[in-house]
């Protein structure tokens, strides 16, 4: 049975140790925060100058001046702080973010990520902070479905879509498996959903999947 979105978020969350500073991309990655218990102190950063985000506010307690990069209302936990955009991206681009988790269109076996434009002729693609995060975070993980809605593999030998960042993805959480991306080797299966065979997983991937010896 494939992992649900919550399963995928929970799997990624379980791999985040206390003390890491983590930036979660908009969409599916955002769900990860809900799966990290507050007592495990993980510091969530948002590009718009928020360090130390807490859970969503109670209804009626939202403030329009406190949002995350996905423009959702958030809270600040004790120990959190605000800064301006250049300082916020200094954290990101200077290599001070332990982990960034992004969504993806494709991940290649060399760690390339495509997640911002669907073709070279895409009119007005929106990059946001994805290229900064892709190039700057200490670790880059991707959370995405294993294939597109019409069944095309998103795990590929070489990205067909325009790249976001080169060679930086080190792990992918999909609805079928968790894959490491190992330099000089490629995708290595780390975990696989119950009832999904390695053959099926390989068939739904457009790059060779390795298994640990």
């Amino acid at each position: 049975m494939p992992y649900s979105r919550t399963d995928m978020a929970a799997k990624a969350a379980a791999d985040i140790p206390e003390g890491w500073v983590v930036n979660l991309g908009i969409g599916m990655p955002t769900l990860i925060a809900n799966e990290v218990p507050l007592e495990r102190e993980v510091i969530f950063q948002s590009e718009n100058g928020v360090l130390g985000m807490g859970p969503a506010p109670e209804q009626g307690k939202e403030t329009p001046w406190l949002i995350n990069a996905g423009k959702q209302f958030v809270t600040l936990r004790k120990g959190g702080s605000f800064c301006h955009h250049a300082d916020s991206f200094s954290m990101i681009r200077g290599g001070h973010i332990d982990l960034c988790v992004l969504g993806g269109f494709e991940v290649a076996e060399n760690g390339d990520l495509a997640n911002w434009a669907t073709s070279e002729n895409d009119t007005a693609p929106a990059v946001g902070g994805a290229m900064d995060l892709g190039a700057g975070a200490k670790r880059l993980w991707v959370v995405m479905d294993h294939t597109t809605k019409d069944g095309r593999p998103k795990i590929v030998e070489k990205c067909g879509y325009p790249l976001t960042a080169l060679s930086n993805v080190s792990r992918v959480y999909t609805n079928l498996a968790v894959l490491d991306v190992v330099p000089e080797l490629g995708f290595v299966v780390r975990d696989i959903a119950d009832g999904v065979s390695l053959e099926e997983l390989q068939a739904k991937s457009a790059a060779k999947l390795h298994t640990r010896a």
Binding site: S46, E47, N48, G49, V50, K61, T63, P64, W65, L66, I67, N68, A69, K71, L76, F82, C83, H84, H85, A86, S88, F89, I92, R93, A117, E120, T123, A124, P125, A126, V127, G128, G129, A130, M131, D132, A135, G136, P162, L163, T164, A165, L166
Partner: protein, 227 residues
């Protein structure tokens, strides 16, 4: 006595010229200087280059300015939002230029303009479409792209509190691009929810010192729950 406080939005926007490059603070609706944008629409300047994180939504604010044909070019990181209908139509029709800049590079280019740095190198966008036509260079085995400072004529800023010297503090994530933009423009115009006496702002917590501010106008954004 230094007094940067002006009495009306019209006065705040006076003198903005056709052809200006205008920085517009805010991320989402947080820290967005809505009243100043409306006042810019009233003021009439056209042929503008607007720099903002997004390309406007709905038919108000920046989107309205574009719809009126007053924006020649937009420089932003995320043009396609949930409701960026005006931009998308103008862009399809070839009626507006677009320069997409990674969000961190956008912030850093304005910071560089404010700090006297004409150009810098960054790993962001290396090997991507957005690095096309840009100088690349290797430092210690890693590849970087050269980016240029982004100077502007005008910056529109939303602050939470201001004093007559133009010192500013912001409200939570309303800070975002505002302090950076304030440093990069010749004329920095601020709308603030509160005006306080000189000396009332904590000198350790002033996020934009008045040196970067030219005009301050008070507007009521009506948010009783905010600090």
């Amino acid at each position: 006595m230094i007094n940067k406080i002006v009495n009306s939005l019209a006065e705040a926007l006076s003198g903005v010229k056709d052809g200006s490059t205008v920085l517009i603070g805010g991320f989402g609706s947080a820290g967005q200087p809505d009243e100043l944008i409306e006042a810019l629409i009233e003021q009439g300047a056209k042929d503008l280059v607007c720099v903002a994180n997004n390309a406007g939504t709905g038919h108000v604010g920046l989107a309205r300015l574009m719809e009126l044909g007053r924006v020649r070019k937009i420089i932003c990181s995320f043009p396609r939002s949930a409701n960026s209908v005006v931009f998308e139509q103008l862009y399809r029709e070839g009626k507006i230029e677009l320069e997409i800049v990674p969000q961190g590079t956008l912030a850093e280019r304005m910071r560089a303009a404010g700090a006297g740095i004409p150009a810098f190198y960054t790993a962001t966008s290396h090997g991507t479409l957005l690095a096309r036509g840009k100088e690349e260079r290797e430092f210690e085995g890693r590849h970087y792209v050269m980016e240029r400072a982004l100077h502007a004529d005008v910056a529109l800023v939303e602050a939470w509190k201001a004093d007559r010297w133009g010192n500013l503090v912001y409200n939570q994530s309303g800070r975002n691009f505002n302090p950076v933009m304030a440093t990069a423009a010749e004329l920095t115009i601020v709308q603030t929810q509160h005006i306080v006496e000189l000396g009332d702002l904590d000198p350790e917590a002033i996020a934009t010192p008045g040196i970067y501010v030219n005009r301050v106008v008070q507007v009521d954004r009506g948010a009783p729950w905010a600090p």
